[in-house]
Subunit: 371 residues, 4 copies
């Protein structure tokens, strides 16, 4: 694989996460050429320079469009706030760059559709930053499901819960504004949906209820201000002829920090996974002696795809940032025309369509098809 030139837009947390991945992908995998970190863009020039030095990028600019016109750059990492994704991704694709874009695609369906259209027109690789699917254990679970290890899937449940909105005394801020989105639904639901998409597919019909744990919050300017969106969403799922399911999201769930709890039940067994313990999953298999049946807690090891690239010894653990390194490696595979385990703009749009259908279901109080 030839050396790829990289441009990075945005140097906040996700920018740093992309930068770490670009630095690590060659040493970790040992089977790709080390990318050339050509340039990064950050709004403020001095900060851009400082980050370029820290992140190991050659040049820095305060104008992201500079990166698009740089012929040494082959791929653009987009890690800016969501409202900029569409403009940047479309421009990058039109400039003939591959695009690695953080989730969600965009703040409106129309923008996301525009992104997909640009992607198709360009023929370039697009990768959405759904890094949870990159966990070697999620891939292994997907393989188990695909191989029929738990038989035909009959039912799934996914819960995504955190507590960053759980404090009722936290003053009102933009996360509670209607214009920031539906609430838990777009903050969270895309992640479980990305997992479902690789594990069992996306739902075709949804029925949603959303609720507000706190009707209002202290306003910074004094008094109280009504909360405009929903911290909690619960969604009944149908998968056509396939399983039924439930998706639950709660960003006001005290005690939950990064929980994404997945339960997949099949005709021959079951699988469990909790993102808060991302280095293990559980498998129940009805074969063998009933007196010894139980959920097995399996630790990540070299028997699972890719883990061994990080650590040779089993059970030593990957971290959240490591998933981004794997995502980066998959992007390189896609660029090389190899099969890649990614959420591209097409699947990314499907995920966002599901989220919008869920929101609409709540508004209309009825089942909604996912178009």
């Amino acid at each position: 694989m030839a050396c790829l030139g990289v441009g990075l837009i945005g140097t906040g947390y996700m920018g740093k996460c992309h930068a770490l991945a670009w630095n690590a992908v060659a040493p970790v995998f040992g089977d790709v050429e080390r990318p050339r970190l050509v340039g990064l863009a950050e709004v403020e020039a001095a900060l851009a320079r400082r980050r370029a030095d820290e992140f190991g990028f050659e040049s820095a600019t305060s104008n992201w469009r500079d990166l698009l016109s740089d012929p040494d750059i082959d791929v653009i990492s987009i890690t800016t706030p969501n409202q900029f994704h569409a403009e940047m991704a479309v421009a990058a694709l039109e400039a003939g760059k591959h695009v690695w874009c953080e989730k969600p695609m965009a703040t409106t369906l129309a923008d996301a559709e525009r992104m997909l259209a640009a992607s198709r027109a360009s023929g370039k690789v697009t990768v959405m930053g759904y890094n949870y699917i990159q966990n070697p254990l999620i891939r292994h679970m997907a393989a188990l499901v695909a191989q029929g290890a738990i038989g035909a899937v009959t039912h799934v449940r996914v819960e995504m819960d955190e507590d960053y909105m759980a404090d009722p005394d936290e003053p009102f801020y933009w996360k509670s504004e209607a214009r920031s989105g539906y609430g838990a639904l777009d903050d969270f639901a895309v992640h479980p949906l990305s997992l479902l998409s690789v594990l069992v597919g996306l739902p075709v019909e949804v029925m949603t209820d959303m609720s507000k744990p706190y009707a209002d919050r202290p306003a910074r300017e004094g008094g109280r201000r009504a909360v405009e969106n929903h911290d909690i969403a619960s969604v009944l799922l149908r998968f056509g002829e396939g399983p039924s399911g439930v998706l639950m999201a709660n960003r006001s769930a005290w005690g939950r920090k990064g929980r994404i709890f997945v339960q997949i039940y099949g005709s021959e067994g079951a699988l469990l996974y909790d993102q808060e313990r991302m280095n293990e999953f559980q498998l129940y298999d009805r074969a063998g002696e009933p007196a010894n049946h139980g959920f097995r807690t399996v630790l990540t090891s070299g028997s699972h795809p890719i883990y061994g690239r990080f650590v040779p010894a089993p059970g030593h653990g990957l971290g959240f940032n490591d998933l981004k390194i794997i995502e980066c490696r998959e992007l390189l595979a896609a660029v090389a025309g190899e099969p890649a385990h990614i959420v591209d703009f097409e699947r990314g749009l499907a995920i966002e369509r599901a989220v919008h259908a869920m929101a609409q279901s709540h508004s209309e109080g009825r089942w909604m098809k996912v178009s």
Copy 2:
């Protein structure tokens, strides 16, 4: 408290469970007079006699009505199949007996209503066998909620899952017949609802989806037979001005044996409980140093109501049958006119109304009020 005379109808598993409780309630608690085990009824006379000897009952009969006319009997335990509950309970109440009846109340709402009417007319004590609420930890959790230890409740989730219908090769039997009931909904949902009723109250509005993991099963007579009810039910819950919630039930969930997993989120903390580990619960409390915040796994101890009557040392564990002994003690309290922690026919009927509303919601594909 005066010595109570006991009559027992039915000597299957639940009959045995009642018998054990009647034998144990005085030694365990040490504050009630040992009940007099006057007579039991079982369909077949020889078996009735054998069970009376085993269970320590004085007399045996194959006609349950004999017990009602026995003036030495004050309370009747009804542990027969569900379709007999209404007839027996009404007759017992009319005969001036207190009634301890296994759940559910009856196979139709009309019968359950008749039972409540008889109960009101008689002025006698009625206790439904919802033993899960008797766990000292459930009582403690209810007290924590009531005292505001987790603040205002914002969201609840309850899952009840077992795997006795999980095997797709298991031949069709009566549990899959429509006339046996809705499936998971009435097999299971009453239990989570009994817990909700003591922890946060019953829902006022429900939206249900039910599904069949296996469309048909091998027929004993050859070929395959279509399954007529639903092994899986998922229900969105609304509690009026209170929290939102989700209730899930699955009797085809491989690996789950007696799972009833309860999550209660509040404005100040959260509570978790799993019936499969009935001697512990978890509490998250947002007070104190954030660096030490986490779910605490609390083992049952003498600090929780009643546990100390069973074992003086903490963490030594109660069993499923012990809950029935506590239920028995509560019945004795009710008979003595003391406050009692029970599900009487009134609350029992409320639980069954909720179940029927859930089923109707599924049929009509819309939200349904719980009358």
Copy 3:
């Protein structure tokens, strides 16, 4: 099996526990005649009478020797403080009664030896109250080990920890006196040893270190008083040609309530068990696909011996007191001349010899053979 007449000495917690077992053994098992509860002895006559009524015993006495001369009594339950065991057990055996005696056997080795001699002379059944071995899961684990399910055992670890002596501000009381015993070693070590005895056998050589977490404690009479025995004991174990091991006991271990954590490693797998979660064990088996290897958490079910007598449904849980009911059933088996899973006086004495060897090892600072 003919109806057995029972006499009970002592009505404190363990007396109650025996009484519950005598009441429950026939209903639970359904295959033994209900014992006749003939008489009970308690120091104070009024209390004896009250307990007899509660426990369902026919007569009460304040003189335990009355029970020995009662021809209707076949078996004596001894549940008094340890210093009385030897006298009572020997007298009961000499009176031709079977004996069910709480652990430990006696406060001196000489007394324990006298008990064994009396047992041999009488030819009667003796059962020590080591109820942890009665857990269906412990029996299942013992069977797995015996069948070679984890291959040849290579190493074992047992930890028994509670926190009833953990509070340094707790005033000095008799438990800290030298004459009450070695401390953790005799309070606790007998239990892990009873488990080892059924799982892998008893150690043949031991090396002990004991320590005092608190050198002194507040004296009730003012000032402080030096602690005379050891709340913590750690013991290296050798099993001859067999595995090595470690036994640890700590009665000042904050947070531990009834922990007995057992780890058994073999050439083909491993077994784990924690008494605080007595309804589950864990099994690791190296067979099959490495990518799915892990410790399986197995819940008690009807596939394990005896559990089904208590509850037909799996995973519903036994309690601490239920183990005593099983122990009672085993005693009945022994009386009937059937194979019984018990610790009799012979094995009981072997356990106590091991404890004394451990204490001696600490005193002498060297390895000690268990005679």
Copy 4:
């Protein structure tokens, strides 16, 4: 902090791990200048060149001494097999370089002492690669202990278990040769000792038993060959006036992958940690309402030192390789003359002295002081 020039010796797994850390330390922390990756050494020149390209190093050599003479290099990472550590470290220190050396220090005490002498003579920074101590949770636990959060420490237990030698059918290889070391003791014990050293200090007296789970193994040349060292070691620990403890190590423990389970008991509470779940620890605190006492499972978050540099959201998880990045940052602190959380050659030697004392204790069958 001025830009540091880096030389790396060895490019196997630990070499890669160092390289990843050198690449990531500046982006992750954002408060240090990005190090200049000057040169790396690997035995074979072509491989050296390839690794330099992958790892982002400027130059490559097959002669590690080239790095020592390069004036642009300030610090040398030593990641070669253990027998080369002493020669390289001493030479590097003599060449005026700081040294970051993988554990253990050396294969003999004499070599390790030579390394410490060279370190003292040079006045340069030395850091041993004990990365487990870098876990933010271990630092937090150390701080809790130091602050008295669990009172005076009374007892500690540490278990380190893996299963890479558990298969009895695995042919004999160098790990079972006496000249490779004592077995579990030097493979494993240094890690728990590094943790003890930061949590409660090192033991002053030890009593060891070692055992061989398998007396012999299949020889590759046919027949069987006697195993020469011990896969299992169990050690009683004394800490002078302080707590007692037990250290256990087993490299034949089926099912254990990277377990390092630490239990620390104090007069006011307890702490638990398991390396297999390195993103959580447990704290028991006896303050507050007993009915709510229990071990709290605390997930890593921004409230713990350094974690926030990796991920802003709590509970998202660090991986094993991340600990090396933190270690690298500490080395930079030490070079800058700031306080650093490291195991330097002095503490490294103390750890190795403890290991040797343990081995000697086993040989002599008696307690041994750690000099």
